[in-house]
């Protein structure tokens, strides 16, 4: 019996959550799950709290099946997950500061998103007023006579989101990088509470602008799962069309930007042109360059009237992209920067459950479009590229190959787009206590979304976990023993979301 099945058998109560169950467990079962995470029998996909209870999302990678465990915390604390499973550390620091539940035994006492600037403490819990005095943050030490520190950010030297990086270096070599994030924390999960579906959808679409389609896709599926409604086939296919266009646009941007960070600006220029073609096709076809707010619960906000701009875009990429790949593959001065740079240990990628290009460049085949899978991807032919090297070059190649796969899917969708309505009306009222979960493949990797509806069809609670949450710590590991000058290159090859992480 799998650990997931065994845990399910120990349920004290089963909640109304779809498509995967949420169960209440006792402390003993919770600890059993924590040991299961440590042993690698099951993966951690999310950890979040609400007043009086903490939730842990587990995923069985062989099947993609999810199980959410809930532990009631009458004494205001729960057994730490991070003490044995390090990927949970930042998550439970967040639970502590957002809700006020104490992870018993958590080895890191520091706050994470809370910089003491909000004027409120535990905003998802009691929300007590406190002074907004900006407490200092103790970074982890790295000591020795030749060490020096380089503080970078939160305002960086490019058109990029804010975050703070604290490097400790020995000459040119990075000995330790420590991230401090939370700068763009906007309180999205609190704003979701009590929001109607329209407002909630707008918030979700702005979790991370470069993944707006993916997040809206997940939100729609979670709402539909909670309400038990099926959307028209055409809507499913249009959603995938937008999701794959978003993936192509983002990967093109990254490919160009990574090469540009190795001072190869020609590639940024060419990729920028191709990316612009994708955005213009999106505007012509769906009325918005980033396709924001185009996926809604019940279907899509707009129908596809004319597929020609998209078909023309695909043609342009089919002819314009391969020469760029050839150029990348034959420019030795560029490869010299990317090959072997920022190698990530596959064991760490596995332990942190890294998704997207970060995981796939390290041999992890996980793709939520495949497992657990969601429509219409069961009807589309595509491969999930995997590389083993784990370096910047491998992450570039994953993007290159995924662009090819996404174009293949866009062609399949255009060739066989089902007719019929693109939207059904939904009646969310009277669904008090119903819950929905969705795992959606954004260009960075799997994005987890959970929500609970109240009796008026509003959001009672919601939680989001971007792929970046598990990728940011891996960036710290990948830069160690590389030179400081390679950090921009390495950082861009990960391209984690700040906004998606900070929420």
């Amino acid at each position: 019996m799998s650990l997931r099945a065994a845990l399910f058998d120990a349920a004290l109560e089963v909640f109304d959550q779809k498509p995967w169950p949420r169960i209440r467990v006792d402390e003993e079962t919770w600890i059993r799950a924590v040991f299961g995470l440590h042993a690698g029998d099951v993966g951690l996909t999310a950890l979040w709290g609400e007043p009086g209870a903490v939730h842990m999302g587990l995923i069985e990678e062989e099947t993609g099946e999810i199980l959410v465990l809930t532990l009631a915390c009458p004494a205001g604390s729960f057994p730490s997950v991070g003490v044995t499973h390090a990927p949970a550390l930042r998550l439970e620091r967040t639970v502590r500061e957002m809700v006020g539940l104490i992870p018993d035994g958590c080895p890191d006492e520091r706050p994470w998103l809370d910089h003491s600037r909000w004027g409120v403490r535990h905003p998802l819990g009691a929300a007590d007023a406190v002074p907004a005095d900006g407490a200092p943050y103790p970074f982890l030490p790295a000591e020795g006579p030749p060490m020096h520190q380089i503080p970078v950010g939160p305002v960086h030297a490019g058109i990029i989101e804010p975050g703070h990086f604290r490097f400790t270096a020995n000459g040119e070599t990075v000995v330790r990088l420590e991230e401090r994030l939370g700068w763009v924390h906007k309180g999205i999960e609190r704003s979701m509470i009590g929001a109607d579906l329209e407002r909630a959808g707008k918030l979700v679409a702005r979790i991370s602008g470069d993944s707006t389609v993916a997040w809206s896709f997940g939100f729609a599926r979670a709402v539909e799962a909670a309400l038990g409604i099926a959307v028209p086939k055409r809507a499913q296919w249009l959603r995938a069309l937008m999701a794959e266009m978003e993936r192509v646009a983002d990967h093109l941007g990254d490919f160009g930007a990574i090469c540009n960070d190795a001072a190869f600006s020609q590639m940024l220029n060419r990729c920028g042109q191709l990316r612009e073609r994708v955005l213009r096709a999106a505007e012509s076809a769906f009325g918005h360059r980033l396709m924001m707010d185009r996926i809604v619960p019940g279907g899509t906000a707009v129908d596809l009237a004319d597929a020609r701009p998209i078909a023309e875009m695909v043609t342009a990429l089919r002819s314009g992209f391969p020469p760029l790949v050839h150029l990348y593959d034959t420019t030795v001065s560029l490869l010299e920067r990317t090959v072997t740079t920022g190698r990530l240990d596959p064991a760490l990628a596995r332990r942190w459950g890294a998704g997207g290009h970060v995981g796939r460049a390290c041999g992890r085949r996980f793709d939520s479009r495949r497992l657990p899978g969601y429509p219409p991807y069961d009807a589309l032919r595509f491969d999930v590229p995997v590389r083993e090297a784990g370096d910047v070059d491998a992450r570039v190649w994953i993007r290159i190959e995924e662009i090819g796969e996404s174009l293949r899917m866009i062609e399949q969708i255009l060739a066989a787009l089902p007719a019929g309505p693109h939207r059904v009306e939904i009646a969310p009222a009277g669904a008090a206590g119903r819950e929905g979960v969705a795992l959606t493949e954004a260009f960075r990797g799997d994005a987890f979304l959970w929500l609970r509806l109240d009796g008026d069809g509003r959001i009672a609670r919601a939680h989001f976990r971007d792929a970046s949450v598990f990728q940011w710590p891996l960036l710290e590991a990948a830069i160690a023993m590389n030179i400081v000058a390679d950090f921009p290159l390495l950082n861009k090859s990960f391209n984690c979301s700040y906004s998606g992480h900070d929420l």
């Binding site: 998103l113 910089h115 600037r117 909000w118 004027g119 409120v120 905003p123 929300a127 907004a132 900006g134 939160p154 305002v155 030297a157 490019g158 058109i159 990029i160 989101e161 804010p162 939370g182 700068w183 763009v184 924390h185 906007k186 309180g187 999205i188 609190r190 704003s191 407002r199 707008k202 918030l203 702005r206 979790i207 991370s208 602008g209 470069d210 707006t212 941007g253 020609q266 220029n269 920028g272 042109q273 990316r275 612009e276 955005l279 360059r289 980033l290 924001m292 020469p323 150029l327 034959t330 420019t331 979301s497 700040y498 906004s499």
Partner: protein, 171 residues
């Protein structure tokens, strides 16, 4: 690689193959900006982008200003890495409580004369994030703003038009 460079030299620029009306509009914007910018600051205007809490949608479109279709640099406008080199600060996002001080310090580090352009609906009044415990509000809740550009996110064309309007107002 040499083949690529030769091809780049020989083929027509992407901007010229754009629809006539669009190209004219861009050209017109360019001349207008050039004349006014010249009066104020010589031949160039340096822009520093500051994300004070955005979802990164605005950043994507600000990036697009640099692509060959919009080619911001032909107007003498360019993005710089430090506020100390900047004439214009383009600020995106609702200003989060956690970014308020960083934004104030970035503005203080920018030499006069300087202009602050608030980019996007969130930068106007907090947008969909207004009212949150973690959000101070629009950019002008923290620093004086010379111009707001609406849009979620604003298109690159709207951003270009705004830069012209700024120069016109300041000239």
């Amino acid at each position: 690689m040499p083949k690529f460079l030769i091809e780049s030299l020989l083929r027509r620029a992407v901007t010229e193959t754009a629809p006539a009306a669009d190209a004219d509009a861009l050209d017109e914007l360019g001349r207008c900006l050039d004349a006014a910018a010249h009066r104020r600051l010589g031949r160039s205007l340096a822009i520093r982008e500051v994300d004070a809490g955005s979802c990164n949608g605005c950043e994507l479109e600000i990036h697009a200003l640099n692509n060959a279709y919009y080619d911001l640099e032909r107007f003498g406008l360019r993005f710089v890495a430090s506020p100390r080199h900047a004439d214009v600060l383009m600020v995106t996002g609702p200003v989060t409580a956690n970014m308020r001080e960083a934004l104030q310090r970035t503005v203080a580090a920018t030499p006069d004369p300087k202009w602050v352009v608030a980019v996007g609906d969130c930068a106007l009044d907090g947008g969909v994030f207004a009212g949150s415990y973690a959000v101070v509000g629009g950019v002008d809740a923290v620093v004086p703003v010379d111009l707001h550009v609406r849009g979620c996110p604003p298109t690159p064309r709207a951003l270009l038009e705004a830069l012209v309007a700024l120069i016109e107002k300041s000239a």
